[in-house]
Symmetry: C2
Subunit: 223 residues, 2 copies
DNA sequence: TGACTCTCCTACGACCATTAGGGTTTCCTA
DNA sequence: TAGGAAACCCTAATGGTCGTAGGAGAGTCA
């Protein structure tokens, strides 16, 4: 309990730096982050920031990790649902992910694009992304197990295709209509349709229950 | 024929500036373009560039327009095919687009992402994009007309979903595996699968010809 | 109280985009 | 062929950036 107080204060400052950096990026663009401006808003001189981060890249990395953690955290509530209705859980998770991305466009750009010249996330910052991918794979496998998806839907290609759908919807919305509400966005509102499309394509081989009315109005609790 | 010679030389220089800027961006990242570095590589002093472009943003805009023109031009060869086999033409066009994007990652990032803080394309630079969208819409309508696609596949949502597929595959590949060959890229190699998925989802209502073997090995001349 | 550490500072070097204004080359015209 | 204008490229300077070096003052411990 000796230097807890100092450490506490330090962590507090680190958090404040990241928050302020996010603010700056929200106004100036992701690649427009400025150490000087960040410091200025905190009532500091720019060099003082280097007590907390060795470089601007390190700030990007910390923000990347924070974004990854948040975006994985968003999926947490739907893990329970996985055992009962994997497809429903996947749709809910997808909508939550898209909604989070539109609510945090700066972090989303950092995660889904590669907008900053010198920056590539360190393995440490990337680790949550690996977990997220494993979570998705598990969810798809659960859907296979539940007879909602053909086995091919959970193999490497299926996973890649699913993530492409996610990235595509988010990318298009961010690039073309960044400030539209999720429900109204020309692309984000198609999230349930995209999930339908995926499940329709990877429908199980022999099935007499739900194979004919898939094109219709799915996604009951979507809007 | 008065100032043709001067004008010619001037256009030549403009082209050289854009080419050099592309080189710089390829090395330093899209947002890492530097007027000074560009000038240096041309054996010029930085201020001289302002004889040709009023600002760095103007260079981005010119490159955006060039990229748009190129990416639309890539589709030109497949317009003829549209009347015979719209679906085949769409697939071929999609593969050509993805291949172009991977061959020109810098321009692709400029088109599909929004990596440069102050920059948004002017309407003039954006005009080819409008034409491209109309071309896609026409192609999808042709597929509807040919009985390869349900009408819903060519309406606003269908078009948006299709572009999301394109953007998704390209984004994921650029962000995660930028230097992989198109045929091997974890995402780009799924281009035919993605098109299949789209057509499968928007399959025409009543059809006795090709509805059962869609999941199988489509895309004959793909790899 | 003395020593140590943490935090913030000023000063600096090297880069950047952009503007102002001057000299030289190139080309057209009289 | 000579004059003149336009095009082109330059130097110099402003005000911004990231990042380093090194010093001053405050908080914390023995």
């Amino acid at each position: 309990m000796r230097e807890d107080r100092r450490q506490l204060r330090r962590n507090e400052t680190v958090r404040e730096i990241l928050d302020t950096a996010l603010e700056v990026m929200a106004e100036e663009g992701v690649a427009g982050l400025s150490m000087a401006e960040t410091a200025r808003r905190m009532g500091m001189r720019p060099p003082s920031l280097y007590q907390y981060f060795p470089s601007k890249t390190a700030i990007y990395d910390a923000l990347f990790e924070r974004g990854m953690r948040e975006t994985v955290g968003v999926l947490e509530p739907y893990r329970a649902e996985l055992s009962r209705d994997p497809r429903g859980a996947l749709l809910a998770g997808q909508q939550a992910t898209v909604a989070w991305a539109m609510a945090h466009p700066v972090l989303a750009q950092l995660l889904y694009w590669r907008p900053v010249p010198g920056f590539e996330p360190t393995p440490r910052a990337f680790e949550p992304a690996v977990r997220q991918l494993e979570l998705l794979r598990a969810a798809l496998r659960a859907a296979v197990h539940a007879g909602q998806l053909s086995p091919a839907g959970a193999d490497e290609d299926g996973v890649a295709l699913y993530t492409s759908l996610t990235a595509g919807v988010i990318s298009q919305q961010l690039a073309n209509e960044p400030s539209a509400p999720v429900q109204e966005g020309r692309f984000t509102r198609l999230t349930p349709t995209a999930v339908d499309m995926f499940f329709h394509f990877y429908a199980p081989e022999e099935s007499e229950s739900d194979d004919s009315d898939l094109r219709g109005r799915r996604t009951p609790a979507a809007d």
